[in-house]
């Protein structure tokens, strides 16, 4: 696609429910990143996929968070047993190879509200 697409744009869920957030990167981009932006804060790195390599999961805050990337394209971030502190905007970005050279393209994010 022309840009990075994220769905849903907004999601309200009840505490304790599981949620799935989707990211569709730019076609051909080998790298995909997930970030979390809490209200009024900067972006916090969650997970990074590069090609067929094992993902860098060092930013995932707990074992309730997981992500997968199927076929080197679409990625899904799953949050199990959601808590109120999970409320945030979840941003996805993709890059062609090494992002710092070629640039990172961000989606418009999913705003997750846990009530």
């Amino acid at each position: 696609g022309a840009g990075v697409s994220q769905s849903p744009s907004n999601k309200v869920t009840e505490k304790g429910k599981d949620v799935e957030l989707r990211c569709d990167p730019i076609s051909g981009h080998t790298a995909l990143y997930w970030y979390r932006q809490s209200l009024g804060q900067g972006l916090e790195f969650l997970i990074y996929f590069q090609g067929n390599s094992a993902p860098d999961k060092s930013g995932l805050p707990s074992d309730r968070f997981s992500a997968e990337r199927t076929g080197g394209s679409v990625s899904t971030l799953t949050i199990q047993r959601t808590q109120q502190e999970d409320s945030a905007v979840y941003l996805c970005a993709s890059s062609l190879g090494t992002g710092r050279f070629g640039g990172y393209t961000f989606g418009s994010g999913t705003r997750l509200t846990v009530v």
Binding site: L43, F45, Y48, G99, S108
Partner: protein, 113 residues
């Protein structure tokens, strides 16, 4: 671990005037990149300008320029001839061989007509 600090939570500038946003970072790496991103209410992060650490010359993109002081680990953004459309959150970010971006906490820029 690398850290990025933006000490100005909010800044205000009169339309057509110049404003400078501050950013400092900490790293032990010698090869890295620095970025300024703009985030309007649409939430999408838009690249404003990028600086490669090994280049001494400060990057410039139209009305946007940086003052990169490598020894001081400082990377400020200057916006000249400010326009109403410049109003947004601005984030300073860092990237090295690890490839992911490390962001500062952001500065909210308000532009007064």
């Amino acid at each position: 671990a690398q850290t990025v600090t933006q000490s100005q939570p909010e800044m205000s500038v009169q339309e057509a005037e110049t404003v400078t946003l501050s950013c400092t970072y900490d790293t032990s790496e010698s090869d890295y990149y620095l970025f300024w991103y703009k985030q309007p209410p649409s939430r999408q992060m838009i690249l404003v300008i990028r600086q490669e650490a090994y280049k001494q010359q400060n990057a410039t993109e139209n009305r946007f320029s940086v003052n990169f002081q490598k020894a001081a680990k400082s990377f400020s953004l200057k916006i000249s001839d400010s326009q109403l459309g410049d109003a947004a959150m601005y984030f300073c970010a860092y990237s090295d061989a690890g490839n992911m971006l490390t962001f500062g906490g952001g500065t909210r820029l308000m532009v007064k007509p």
